[in-house]
């Protein structure tokens, strides 16, 4: 087991496309880190640099205290699980799991013992003689995990390992993975574009866009205090509603929505008087008014006509226009809202975020920008 330190990692391909740059990340021993971002954001490239499958253009990578920039993947003491499993189709489950030990010419008894143990952990003992073609998707993914475990690697790298599984199996395997990581106590670096996976599994998550880290933090930090508009929009489903307006006389004023600032926001936005800002309101902070117990200064009411209503089960998404701006809210399905219905909604002002339109960064308490 070991921590990992990435110092200013950069990946530039031969055609001058920069896939990752300024990648700085300290990972503690035994930590579960999730790299999250949309397709093409550089998260897989970053993982592959750590694995040694992509050459690092610039920067330094330490696994434990060892600089591993130029080491081959097999010498980095890492294990990797691929999105499409990458099992050896010509070998049985037993041979697949024990392959890395066989290649390293380990003693047959040791190979057998470790393979059987790994197979037990991933619950594949009964299918050891099967070939991958005769396994279900979940079993194949567990073979890939078993193959990684057998070597007692210092760091586990997982590249979207659940994306080929169906929704039910994905949920189960997600929980199993978290339990497995806790049991092994090994550092896990997990790449995904699925924010639910990231939120539920990560000790800390790294949000990336265009090859640059946008924010590093615990799932709660990232959700509650998004560093910029990208993170605020990317984390949370449906995405945050953004409205552009101005700060005037202690109020946020726009043609779509106007509301007085609460005290905390007044302090943060004191230097933005008569300047443009963007307010971000999560759909879950736009609720039906009639379920709220009391009125308070932190809540404003808006009267809207619903445009689209989507029932999700326990919750219901409502889409409506404020002037020309379409916003989304999330209400309890028991509200029984209907399309074209006129309803009164409440906006929770304490949970809204303000962003600087030039930098797109969140304006912190004290008027500073996030990360500055």
């Amino acid at each position: 087991m070991a921590g990992l330190r990435c110092i200013n990692l950069k990946k530039c391909y031969d055609n001058n496309v920069v896939a990752v740059q300024g990648f700085n990340l300290d990972i503690k021993d035994g930590e579960f880190i999730v790299l999250l971002g949309p397709s093409g954001c550089g998260k897989s490239t970053a993982l592959r640099m750590i694995a040694g499958l992509e050459k690092i253009t610039d920067g330094e990578l330490f696994i434990g205290d060892k600089l591993v920039n130029t080491l081959a993947p097999s010498d980095r003491d890492i294990a990797m699980v691929f999105q499409n499993y990458a099992l050896y189709g010509n070998m049985t489950v037993y041979e697949n799991i024990g392959f890395s030990l066989t290649i390293r010419h380990q003693d047959t008894d040791v190979i057998h013992e470790k393979t059987i143990k790994a197979a037990e952990v991933v619950e594949l003992s009964r299918v050891l003689n099967n070939k991958p073609a005769n396994l279900s998707g979940g079993q194949r993914q567990r073979v890939a995990l078993g193959r990684s475990m057998v070597r007692d690697a210092k760091v586990f790298l997982l590249d979207e390992p659940l994306s080929n599984l169906d929704a039910k199996l994905r949920n189960e395997t997600r929980r199993e993975l978290v339990k497995l990581q806790r049991r092994l106590g090994t550092t896990f670096i997990y790449v995904t574009h699925d924010q639910v996976e990231a939120m539920t599994m990560a000790d800390r998550m790294v949000i990336m866009k265009d090859g640059i880290i946008q924010q590093i933090g615990t799932p709660a930090d990232v959700y509650n205090s998004p560093c910029n508009m990208f993170v605020a929009g990317f984390i949370g489903s449906p995405p945050t509603n953004f409205i552009t307006g101005e700060i005037k006389n202690g109020s946020f004023v726009s043609k779509d929505l106007t509301f007085p600032l609460i005290e905390d926001h007044k302090k943060a936005l004191s230097s933005y008087e008569n300047r443009t800002v963007i307010v971000g309101i999560r759909p879950e902070n736009i609720r039906e008014s009639h379920v709220l117990p009391v009125k308070s200064n932190d809540i404003i009411s808006i009267n809207v006509k619903l445009d689209v209503v989507e029932l999700l089960g326990a919750d219901m998404l409502i889409h409506f226009y404020l002037n020309d701006k379409m916003l989304t809210g999330k209400v309890l399905s028991s509200s029984d809202f209907k399309r074209d219905q006129n309803v009164e909604l409440s906006v929770f002002l304490r949970h809204v975020h303000f962003f600087d339109p030039e930098t797109t960064k969140r304006i912190d308490v004290g008027g500073t920008l996030c990360n500055d």
Binding site: A72, I78, A86, G89, N90, R104
Partner: protein, 287 residues
């Protein structure tokens, strides 16, 4: 069960007729050769043997068994087929493996040079002179000089390229070197392609006639195809030398050699044919 419509029935009917006719066309010469080799002299020479043997006797095979020249040529053919195929496969697999790697320096140019030999050949005389200059005039020379066919290399290269790069990356993380990657991963995963190419090489080596006839001078190194051809060329002499009271015709002797020469192919083919059906990498990666 879904009923076929009229056009589908007609299509299937014509397909079966054509496939059946083609099968009979392919099978008839084999059956005829066997029949001709074991039919009696009178029956054969009077033209009564059309499909099945008449006046069956195996005395021609007894004579063949005692023909030293036949056995030497037969063993030579086995030599050409086994060593030739082995050598060709070593060259083709290693070459195709290298060409399948995107990181190979001058990969495009090398691929072009190989494909170019499929479009353009130097012609028979320059090729002959080239072989002569290289001193190709014995068994080993034939085995080595006819090492590869561009088509087979391309076929194998495409097979190797079909293996997902994640498999190679997983193997590298597991700690394989380039040689282990080839013989532990690529070759077992490409059994279908390799079996196909090996069969191509083996049949081409087994049936190799022209260049062996032209280049190999030592009669003790000639394969069975050349031996058979020489017999055909000397047919008139053989016919005249043959005692009149023999129970078989002179042609039967040649047909018997022909039958013996196709036996190994008939024995091996069913074992290799199973690999044609499917590859072994099914399930290794999520499609």
């Amino acid at each position: 069960m879904e009923r076929l419509n009229k056009s589908e029935i007609i299509f299937k009917f014509i397909s079966y007729i054509l496939i059946g006719a083609f099968g009979i066309m392919a099978l008839y010469p084999v059956v005829y050769a066997v029949s001709a080799s074991i039919s009696g002299k009178m029956a054969y020479e009077s033209g009564r043997v059309i499909l099945l043997p008449i006046d069956v006797n195996f005395s021609v095979y007894k004579l063949l068994y005692e023909d030293k020249g036949f056995w030497i040529s037969y063993i030579n053919t086995l030599f050409y087929a086994v060593y030739g195929t082995l050598w060709s496969m070593i060259i083709s697999i290693t070459g195709a493996y290298a060409l399948a790697k995107k990181r190979l320096l001058f990969r495009r140019q090398l691929n072009f040079f190989i494909v170019f030999t499929m479009w353009f050949t130097a012609g028979m005389i320059p090729t002959y002179l080239n072989y002569m200059d290289m001193g190709i005039k014995n068994k080993w020379g034939i085995v080595v000089a006819f090492g590869v066919q561009a088509y087979n290399i391309i076929l194998l290269r495409n097979t190797f390229e079909g293996i997902p790069k994640e498999i190679e990356e997983a193997a590298k993380v597991d700690g394989v070197n380039e040689f282990q990657l080839l013989h532990r991963i690529y070759i077992p995963m490409s059994k279908a392609g390799i079996a196909t190419v090996a069969l191509f090489y083996a049949t081409s080596r087994w049936n190799g006639y022209f260049w062996v006839r032209i280049l190999v001078k030592d009669p003790m190194e000639l394969p069975v195809q050349v031996y058979m051809r020489i017999l055909v060329e000397n047919y008139q002499k053989m016919y005249e030398d043959m005692p009149a009271n023999l129970p078989y015709a002179a042609d039967s002797y040649i047909y018997a050699i022909l039958v013996c020469s196709i036996i190994p192919v008939l024995l091996i083919y069913p074992h290799i044919q199973k690999y044609f059906a499917k590859g072994v990498n099914i399930g290794g990666v999520k499609e």
